[in-house]
């Protein structure tokens, strides 16, 4: 299933947040959204996921989602959004319980996704017992459990420390390599964007518009920890954004 954004625009009150965003998210690819703080990346993701209604333009789903897909557009949040009162297993079960699966199916799905995210040993642990990296792996397992057509990931690694981030990037690449998924991946981190994105869309400052879309051809599996080619693209992206990032940072939040 593909996603198409058609001339999306959005406002909050009298602030225009997004302007005329047109973008295709092709099936089986990861599209990264980068841009300075407050340019509307998260808002755009919420529009794509149907959590908000765009003021202008349309978000279209093209084609059918996969057969056993329970939730075509599935989020992975920056703050993990795990229920602290449920175990790892319970958190994954949460998103399956409403679907009246045939008996035994739910257990099978949970075991499968926990295995894929190497969490089988932690099925009974509570979120507070887990490190940030582990928590985000649970959130990813939960997203995988509904077999999404498109994953909408809002800075999934930015609450983690640098080393864990590195490890989780490897995990994501491994997951994608085994079974390619479609994803819109919002990030501040250009290193992440060039490691994980097949396509990187650079947004301008608020109101966010698309400044450039960079295609990266090299297969995900071949992108290394510190790769000269990628560094070049990263430098190019940073050149595009640097001044805007500085300006965004120095803005007063209010009054």
């Amino acid at each position: 299933m593909d996603i198409r954004l058609e001339a999306i625009g959005h406002d909050y009150g009298r602030t225009e947040v997004l302007r005329d965003i047109t973008l295709d998210i092709p099936s089986g690819r990861i599209v990264c959204l980068v841009g300075p703080s407050g340019c509307g990346k998260s808002t755009l993701l919420r529009l794509i996921g149907g959590l908000e209604r765009p003021a202008r333009g349309r978000v279209l789903m093209l084609g059918e989602p996969p057969a056993d897909c329970l939730n075509p557009l599935t989020f992975v949040f920056q703050d993990f959004a795990l229920l602290p009162w449920r175990t790892v297993r319970g958190n994954v079960a949460l998103v399956l319980e409403d679907h009246r699966l045939p008996p035994g199916r739910m257990e099978a799905v949970i075991s499968d996704v926990l295995a894929r995210t190497r969490l089988s040993d932690f099925a009974g642990a509570l979120p507070r017992q887990l490190s940030g990296g582990m928590k985000q792996r649970v959130a990813i397992a939960r997203a995988l459990a509904v077999n999404p057509a498109v994953m909408l990931m809002d800075e999934p690694l930015s609450a983690l420390d640098a080393q864990t981030r590195e490890l989780l990037m490897d995990d994501l690449v491994a997951l994608w390599t085994r079974t390619p998924f479609t994803a819109v991946y919002v990030t501040h981190n250009l290193a992440e964007a060039v490691r994980l994105g097949h396509r990187v869309a650079v947004l301008s400052r608020r109101p966010g518009r698309i400044r450039e879309v960079v295609e990266i051809d090299r297969p995900l599996g071949e992108r290394g920890y510190a790769d000269a080619d990628l560094e070049r693209i990263q430098k190019h992206l940073w050149g595009l954004m640097r001044d805007e990032a500085r300006a965004a940072d120095e803005e007063l939040v209010d009054g």
Partner: protein, 270 residues
């Protein structure tokens, strides 16, 4: 349009599934509810399906209030009550904040006083009324004492909770810059505890108003509490409700005053 791009594929707009779970202010509903309830009571007492034993007629309550204000008696009742509230609450809250801060700062005091306060908290103040009369006399003394005692314990609890909740990383910062103990208390601990102390104050003052009636049970001829008690003894529902309305307004006003204080003192919270 979508079809040209995606060939045969169907193009469906993403369904909306967000929203809700976010309270929106509805300005007119609150006053409307009040008016509706009052109108209902008026109608019921007028038509007779609410007996005058059950509820006074709202318009009669308003008349009573107006008469009370006209005759100047309102002032005679308000002045002593406000004085009792002010003095009693000032004593109780002042002592409560002081003790609460000390408990927050010193482990030994905490260990000694916290169980004491916990044991004092559930003691109903009316039960102690006879004792207060013996200790502080039948005049203003026992009334101040009752209100002071009633506001003291919740203030202590709120204050030491607030001190405990001051961000330890700020205190560590102060130490790392070599600030003196007293500077840390004055510039970090106290301002940091202020939000908790103020929200404790809100509760304490509500309790003070509630205790006014108990305080004026003994030996008070004037005062809103005494007025309510007298009305109750005479089974004069109009006056009873008039007094209750005054207390309720007093509560709302106090709460608004603390709100204003919070906006002033805690503007930094944004």
């Amino acid at each position: 349009m979508a079809d040209t791009a995606a060939g045969m594929a169907a193009a469906v707009e993403v369904p909306f599934r967000g929203g809700g779970f976010a309270p929106r202010p509805k300005r007119w509903v609150g006053p409307a509810t009040f008016l509706a309830l009052i109108a209902l009571a008026e109608w019921g007492t007028w038509a007779g399906w609410i007996s005058p034993l059950t509820l006074p007629r709202p318009s009669a309550v308003v008349e009573t209030l107006i008469a009370l204000a006209r005759s100047g008696l309102m002032f005679d009742h308000l002045l002593p009550s406000l004085t009792r509230l002010a003095v009693g609450a000032a004593l109780g809250v002042g002592a409560g904040i002081a003790v609460g801060v000390l408990i927050g700062l010193f482990s030994h005091l905490r260990a000694a006083l916290v169980p004491l306060v916990a044991a004092l908290f559930p003691i109903p103040k009316i039960a102690l009324l006879p004792l207060f009369v013996i200790w502080f006399g039948i005049d203003e003394g026992s009334k101040y004492a009752l209100i002071a005692f009633g506001t003291f314990t919740p203030t202590v609890v709120a204050t030491f909770g607030a001190v405990d909740n001051v961000d330890r990383s700020l205190i560590r910062m102060g130490q790392s810059f070599g600030l003196s103990w007293w500077s840390i208390v004055r510039k970090i601990v106290l301002p940091g505890a202020m939000p908790g102390i103020l929200s404790g104050l809100r509760i304490s003052l509500a309790i003070a108003i509630i205790l006014l009636v108990a305080a004026e049970m003994l030996g008070a001829r004037y005062g809103i509490g005494a007025y309510i008690l007298e009305a109750g003894a005479l089974y004069d529902l109009e006056r009873l409700f008039a007094g209750v309305v005054i207390l309720s307004l007093l509560g709302v006003l106090t709460s608004a005053a603390i709100g204003a204080l919070e906006r002033r003192l805690l503007g930094w919270r944004g």
